[in-house]
């Protein structure tokens, strides 16, 4: 952010991008905004694609089915089965599968031309998914161990004895029960928010320097655009990684709640 302030000082009259850029107006005077439509669109596309890919169920898959099966198999096996374990994982596969591709597409909306807005840069939407995952992993744990058993599992580290527990129990409770949903939501939101704001900054800043800058500044504007392109590719990676990490952490929390020992 210090970069932003430097630029503000260097170029008078330039309006740096800010949180205001994420407050989009509703369509046609309604309160329906672009990210809301994106949520719905992502859900439709994800279900539509995987429904079409899975519908035929041929023994020897065609291209579409192969892509669908590979994508499903990745979440099912390398996130679901490998982390939760082959005994319980099938129950959670639909959830992990849905959340991964829902997040992935919504994040990629930040880079898809014509949309170019990452849905989960709206914090409330990230809160929703984080709250859901908090409810799910706690419910799973309480169902398996009972409320007290689950609290003990999450708060009392095994193999630790004596007065150190006085320190560890509140810490563990805090980190496992209270902090997790917050970090889940903020990690997703902040990455999408920051990536998008960075792109706006380089794009509009480059434009400003090209148009209003002195002759010597103009090449810097071009450089800013080149960097914007580079950052776009970085963003693609971040968008994928955030979807992956969110899903992976969900699986790990569920596994932790199901585990017999901490």
């Amino acid at each position: 952010m210090s970069l932003t302030s430097m630029l503000i000082v260097a170029t008078e009259g330039f309006t740096p991008p800010g949180p205001g850029d994420f407050e989009l107006p509703g369509f046609f005077g309604t309160s329906v905004t672009k990210p809301m439509l994106q949520l719905v669109l992502a859900a439709i596309v994800v279900v539509g694609f995987f429904y079409l890919a899975s519908r035929r169920g041929a023994m020897v898959p065609g291209k579409l089915q192969y892509v669908g099966e590979s994508a499903y198999g990745m979440v099912r096996n390398s996130i679901g089965r490998d982390i939760i374990g082959s005994h319980d994982f099938m129950k959670f596969v639909p959830y992990l599968f849905a959340i991964f591709f829902f997040l992935l597409l919504n994040n990629l909306f930040g880079s898809i031309p014509g949309i170019q807005f990452p849905t989960f840069s709206r914090a409330s939407m990230a809160y929703a998914l984080a709250a859901l995952s908090w409810i799910i992993y706690n419910a799973v744990g309480i169902k398996k161990h009972g409320a007290l058993g689950y609290l003990k599992l999450q708060s009392v580290p095994s193999g630790v004895k004596g007065p150190i527990l006085l320190l560890l129990v509140p810490l563990e409770f805090f980190s496992n029960i209270l902090v997790r949903p917050v970090t889940l939501a903020l990690r997703l939101f902040a990455n999408m928010f920051a990536g998008h704001i960075l792109l706006i900054l380089f794009a509009t800043g480059g434009e400003y320097m090209l148009i209003h800058g002195a002759a010597l500044i103009k090449p810097v504007g071009v450089l800013a655009w080149v960097l914007a392109i580079a950052i776009s590719f970085l963003e693609l990676l971040v968008q994928f990684l955030q979807a992956y990490v969110f899903t992976l952490l969900n699986a790990m929390y569920i596994q932790g709640a199901l585990a017999d020992e901490h």
Binding site: P19, A43, R122, Y127
Partner: protein, 183 residues
Amino acid sequence: MKPLVVLAAAAEGEPNPLAFHLTEFLLALVVFGILYFLMKTKVVPNFEKTFSERTAAIEGGLQAAESKQAEVDAKMAALEKQLGDARHEAARIREEAREQGAAIVAELRAQGQAEQARIIEAGKAQISAERQQAATSLKAEVGSLATSLAGKIVGESLDDDARSSRVVDRFLADLEAHQQGAN
């Protein structure tokens, strides 16, 4: 620590990006809920069905191949057994044929010897019968021949040697001619 910076910006009149909007929160839950429901009921079962069918097909194929192999092995064993039996049978038949051949040869030889003996016997009997017959007919003719020869000799002059030998020659020629005519 972007959120903090953003919070600071929000204090200056910018909207707070961390602010909670109930509409967006609920919409995200509802949309994701529907997505989850559709994935769980329409998509995942399809994929799982395909996966398990594929596993079953592969395992079924392996089993089918194994049973086919077993079948082929059994057939091979049966064929080898049949072949062994056939060889055994052939050897037995050959042995039998050899024995039969030897028996036939021995029998034929015995028959041949018997025939030979019989032919020799028959030849001997015929010869002796013919000799008997010749002797009998000779005995019958000798008297008349001697008588006829004596008459002729007596009819001619007996002192001339040349004449007497002529008479004997003529007699023998007559006899020969007679015999040829008889034959």
